[in-house]
């Protein structure tokens, strides 16, 4: 039997890679992909715990996470398109109009 801790480690590793990717990459698409990675890491965790706890709440939550991820991807990508149309760039450090 695989211990739960292993799943959690896997999830943590993927999550941290997602964090790294989000912070390290300039390309806004890659940042989005990193976010998807983090969400998947969470899902792995949720499903694993759900399984070990013999309770479906975790899976339901991961179901919602997937829903939100879909919505987020749709909106986020729409924003990227709008931004690219205006700025001709996908580099996030060139978009700093919102500074104080």
């Amino acid at each position: 039997m695989v211990p739960l801790y292993w799943y959690m480690l896997l999830s943590a590793a993927v999550f941290c890679i997602g964090v790294y990717g989000f912070l390290a990459r300039r390309n806004v698409i890659l940042m989005f992909i990193s976010i998807e990675l983090m969400l998947n890491a969470v899902n792995i965790n949720l499903v694993a715990i759900s399984h070990y706890m013999e309770d479906l709440a975790g899976q339901i939550l991961s179901f919602f996470v997937i829903t939100v991820a879909a919505a987020e991807a749709a909106i986020g990508l729409a924003i990227i398109i709008a931004l690219f149309r205006n700025k001709e760039t996908v580099h996030v450090d060139e978009m700093k109009e919102m500074q104080g």
Binding site: M8, R26, A78
Partner: protein, 172 residues
């Protein structure tokens, strides 16, 4: 002692982690997206291993089928030739690495002490008896009906929002 489940898990874990690293470090977004696809399949497979067939199906249908295609579309829509020559990493790359590692260290050390709560009623036997999809459905449409409805509204808003945002403004 490497049993089959352990081997199975280790294989998936290795692939997922390895490909994740590859994904975040590719210069070409198309490659990243494609590596991502492989990761998703492996995650789905892992879900099956955890007796969550429905989630696994959704993982493939929604993530691999819809979201990643969306990503691909966008990547193709945008003209990213300049990307070939631009600096790949942002200024926060070292900070990101430090942060990710320390985060991992924190998570790993805390998770060691993780204790499961009381067991629920959906043991493996029960799920096999009433099938996974039906079990999920029963819970989702009773106890979680309201969040489910909210999620549908969120999706609706996202659709409207995405169209509004991506629509080309015609000056008239």
């Amino acid at each position: 002692m490497i049993t089959l489940p352990v081997f199975f898990f280790l294989y998936h874990a290795l692939v997922i982690v390895g490909l994740s690293l590859v994904t975040v470090s590719r210069r070409n977004p198309v490659h990243s997206v494609l590596f991502m696809l492989i990761i998703f399949f492996h995650i789905a497979s892992l879900y099956l291993f955890l007796n969550a067939e429905f989630i696994a199906a959704i993982q493939i249908i929604v993530y691999a089928g819809a979201i990643l295609v969306l990503f691909l579309f966008v990547v193709f829509l945008l003209d990213l030739r300049a990307e070939e020559h631009a600096d790949k990493y942002s200024m926060s790359q070292p900070a990101g690495a430090v942060l990710a590692l320390s985060l991992f260290a924190v998570l790993a050390s805390t998770m060691r002490g993780f204790v499961l709560g009381p067991h629920g009623i959906y043991g493996i036997e029960k799920i096999t008896e009433m099938t996974h999809t039906k079990a999920i459905g029963t819970v989702l449409y009773t106890k979680y009906l309201f969040p489910f409805e909210v999620a549908s509204v969120v999706l609706l808003v996202a659709i409207v929002g995405a169209i509004t945002l991506a629509k080309r403004h015609t000056k008239s």
